[in-house]
Amino acid sequence: MLDQKKRKAYWKENIRYLTILLFIWFLVSYGAGILFKEQLDVIKIGGFKLGFWFAQQGSMYVFVILIFVYVRLMNKLDKKYGFDK
C-alpha cells in the first residue's frame, strides 16, 4: 500500500470508531439520562429509577468503558497499519 493511501484508510477507520463511540456516549447521557429520563424512570432496578440511575451513575460507567474500548481499538488499528512503532 502506498503511504498516502494507508494514511487515508487509517484515518477513515478511526473516524468510523469515533462516530460509533460518540453515538453511544450521546445515547447514555443525553438520551437515557436526560431526554428519555421520564420514560425510563418507569422501570426500577432495586431502589433506582432507571433514568435517574443513568443520569447519576450509569452514564459515567459507560464513559469509562468507552475510552478503554477506544484505546484497544486504536492500539489494534495502529498495529494493523504499522503505525505502532
Partner: protein, 570 residues
C-alpha cells in the same frame, strides 16, 4: 458500631490534633516530592520532560481535575439539587470521552508545550496565538481565583485560622513546589494528592453506607433498602421526605430539561477545552500513552464522582432525620460546632423551640450551607476523629493540586507563549526557565490577591470558566485536527465571536451590569441559563468559522501537512 466506638476509645486524640498530624504529614510529603523532582530545563518545567507514565499521568490528571469544588461542594450541591445535580456528574466526566477521542492523542502527536502553541502553529498566525493566549489567561484566572479562595476556606475551617492566613499559607506551599518543580514537581505531588484525596473521600462514604444500608459499596448502597429492616428503599424514603417538607422530589428535575441538556453539554465541552487539563497530555511519551492515560484519569475520577451522589443521599436523609421537627435544645454536638462557623443556622420563627426545616421560605427556620454535607458528614455519622481529620487533608490536597496545575498554565502562557513566541524569540533556554519561574511567582501573587480580596464577580463567574473554554478553544482545536481546510481567518473569527458572546451573555445575565437589576430568568435566550450558554457560543464559533473559511483562502501546504501528520500516531 462497636468497632468504631472501640477505635474512638483507643485513639483518644482530638480532631484538632489529628488534623495537625495528617495535614503536617501530607504537606511534608508534597514538599519532599517537590525537592526531589525539581525541574532543570524548560521542557521539564512545561511538560515534565515528556516522559511521564500513563498511570502517573492519569493520577495527576485526576488530582488536577478534582478541585475543592469537586471534593467539598459537589456532593452537597447534589444533595440539595437532587436529579439536577446530574449536570455536574455527567458534565465533568463526559468531557473526558471527548478529550480522549477528539483531542488528546492528536495534541500529543503535535508535541509542543501549550494550547496556544497548537493554535498559533496550526493557524499559522500570531493573531491566532494572541487570541488563544488571551482566552487561556481568562479561563485560567477565573478558575484559579476560586481555587485560592477554596484553599483559604479549607484552612480556616480545619486549622481555625482566618481565611486570609489560610490563603497565604496555601500560596506559600503552592509557590514552593510549582516554582521549584514546574510541571515535573506538580505531576508527582499530584500523584500523592490523588491518593490522599480519594482515601479521604471514600473512607467516610463507606462507613456511612454500611451504617445506613448495610452495604459497604456506596454506589450500590444508595439504591438499597434502609438497614433498619423497614424494607423501604433509601431513594423512595428521600422522595417521600422531600415531598412532605415541600421540597422538589429528589429524583425529579426542577430545572427545565432543555437547560439541563445545555448545561451538561457546556460542562462536557468546556472540560475538554480547559488548557490545564489538555496540557497534561503533553507530558506522556507516546500517542498511545495519551489515550490510555485519559482512560485511567477518568476511571480514577469516576471513583469519586460515582460516590458523590451516594454521599448526597446519605447526608440529606441524615440531616433531615436529625433536625426536622426536633427540639433545638436536643441537637447533637456537631450542630452547635458548625453553627459557630455560620455554615448552619437556626431562627425560631414560631417560637415553639422545634426546628422546622421546610421548603416554604416564610416558615423555614434552618439555613444550611451545602458544603456542610461533606465537611460535617463524618461527625453527623459519628465517625472516629481521624476520619474527620482525614477529610481536612483531602480537601487541602484537592484544592492545592488544582491551583498548582492552573498556575503552571498561567506561567507558561506568559513565559513560553508570550515572551518566547511573540516578544523575544531569541531568549536563551536558561533565561526562559527564569522567566517561567518568575511568571509562576507573579501568577501566585495575583491569584492570592484575588483569593484574599475576591471581587464580587469572581464567585459568580468561576462556573462560567467552562462556558468560556467551550466557546473558545474546543471548536478551534477540533476543527484544526478534523478539518484540513480550516484556515486562520475562520478560526480567529470563530474564537472571537465565541468568547465575546459568552462574555456578553455572562455580563448581562449573571452579573447584571447592563441593567439596573439582574434580568429575570424569563428573559434568558431560548430559556438557557448563563451556565449553559457556552453551548450556544460554541455553535456560533463553529458556524462563524465555517462561513468565514468558505470566503477566504486555503491554509498553506505545509500547514495541511501538519494536519496530516498529527493524525498518524508515529
Amino acid at each position: 458500631m462497636a468497632l468504631i466506638n472501640n477505635v474512638l476509645l483507643i485513639e483518644g486524640l482530638s480532631v484538632q490534633n489529628w488534623t495537625y498530624i495528617l495535614v503536617g504529614l501530607t504537606f511534608s510529603l508534597y514538599i519532599g516530592i517537590a525537592i526531589w523532582s525539581r525541574a532543570s530545563s524548560t521542557k521539564e518545567f512545561y511538560v515534565a520532560g515528556g516522559g511521564i507514565s500513563p498511570l502517573a499521568n492519569g493520577m495527576a490528571t485526576a488530582a488536577d481535575w478534582m478541585s475543592a469544588a469537586s471534593f467539598i461542594s459537589m456532593a452537597g450541591i447534589i444533595s440539595f439539587a437532587g436529579y439536577d445535580g446530574a449536570v455536574y456528574l455527567m458534565g465533568w466526566t463526559g468531557g473526558y470521552v471527548l478529550l480522549a477521542l477528539l483531542l488528546a492523542p492528536y495534541l500529543r502527536k503535535f508535541g509542543k508545550f501549550t494550547v496556544p502553541d497548537f493554535i498559533g502553529d496550526r493557524y499559522y498566525s500570531k493573531t491566532a496565538r494572541l487570541v488563544a493566549i488571551f482566552c487561556a489567561l481568562i479561563v485560567s484566572f477565573t478558575y484559579v481565583a476560586g481555587q485560592m479562595r477554596g484553599v483559604g476556606i479549607v484552612f480556616s475551617r480545619f486549622l481555625e485560622v482566618d481565611i486570609n492566613t489560610g490563603v497565604i499559607i496555601g500560596m506559600l506551599i503552592v509557590l514552593f513546589y510549582a516554582v521549584l518543580g514546574g510541571m515535573k514537581g506538580i505531576t508527582y505531588t499530584q500523584v500523592a494528592q490523588y491518593c490522599v484525596l480519594i482515601f479521604a473521600f471514600m473512607v467516610p462514604a463507606i462507613f456511612i453506607s454500611i451504617q445506613m444500608t448495610g452495604n459497604p459499596i456506596p454506589q450500590v448502597g444508595f439504591g438499597s433498602e434502609l438497614a433498619d429492616g423497614s424494607g423501604i428503599y433509601l431513594l423512595d424514603k428521600l422522595d417521600g421526605l422531600s415531598a412532605e417538607l415541600g421540597f422538589n422530589e429528589y429524583t425529579h428535575n426542577s430545572k427545565s430539561m432543555l437547560d439541563i441538556f445545555a448545561i451538561t453539554l457546556t460542562l462536557m465541552v468546556g472540560t475538554a477545552g480547559l488548557p490545564h487539563v489538555i496540557v497534561r497530555f503533553f507530558t506522556v511519551k507516546r500517542v498511545r500513552d495519551a489515550r490510555k492515560s485519559a482512560g485511567i484519569a477518568l476511571l480514577l475520577i469516576v471513583i469519586l464522582y460515582s460516590t458523590a451522589p451516594a454521599v448526597a443521599v446519605f447526608s440529606r436523609i441524615n440531616l433531615i432525620e436529625t433536625v426536622s421537627n426536633k427540639p433545638y435544645s436536643e441537637v447533637p454536638e456537631w450542630f452547635k460546632k458548625w453553627e459557630t462557623t455560620g455554615l448552619i443556622s437556626f431562627t425560631d420563627k414560631n417560637n415553639d423551640g422545634n426546628i422546622q426545616y421546610v421548603a416554604d421560605k416564610e416558615k423555614n427556620e434552618l439555613e444550611v450551607d451545602r458544603d456542610i454535607m461533606v465537611l460535617a458528614n463524618p461527625e453527623i455519622a459519628r465517625l472516629p476523629n481521624w476520619v474527620i481529620a482525614l477529610v481536612a487533608a483531602g480537601g487541602l490536597a484537592a484544592a492545592l493540586s488544582t491551583a498548582a496545575g492552573l498556575l503552571l498554565v498561567l506561567s507558561s502562557s506568559v513565559s513560553h507563549d508570550l515572551i518566547k513566541k511573540v516578544i523575544n524569540p531569541k531568549i536563551s533556554e536558561k533565561n526562559e526557565l527564569i522567566a517561567a519561574r518568575l511568571s509562576a511567582i507573579g501568577a501566585v501573587i495575583v491569584a492570592g490577591y484575588f483569593g484574599i480580596n475576591p471581587p464580587g464577580f469572581v464567585a459568580a463567574v468561576v462556573a462560567l470558566a467552562f462556558g468560556l473554554a467551550a466557546a473558545s478553544f474546543f471548536p478551534a482545536i477540533v476543527l484544526g485536527i478534523f478539518y484540513k481546510r480550516m484556515n486562520k481567518e475562520g478560526a480567529i473569527a470563530g474564537m472571537v465571536i465565541g468568547i465575546v458572546t459568552m462574555i456578553l451573555y455572562m455580563i448581562k445575565f449573571k452579573l447584571g451590569w447592563f441593567d439596573e437589576v439582574l434580568p429575570n430568568k424569563n428573559e434568558w435566550w431560548f430559556g438557557i441559563s448563563p451556565e449553559g450558554f457556552g453551548v450556544i457560543s460554541m455553535i456560533l464559533n463553529f458556524s462563524t468559522a465555517l462561513i468565514i473559511m468558505s470566503f477566504t483562502k486555503k491554509p498553506p501546504k505545509y500547514v495541511q501537512e501538519i494536519v496530516e501528520n498529527i493524525r498518524i500516531p508515529n
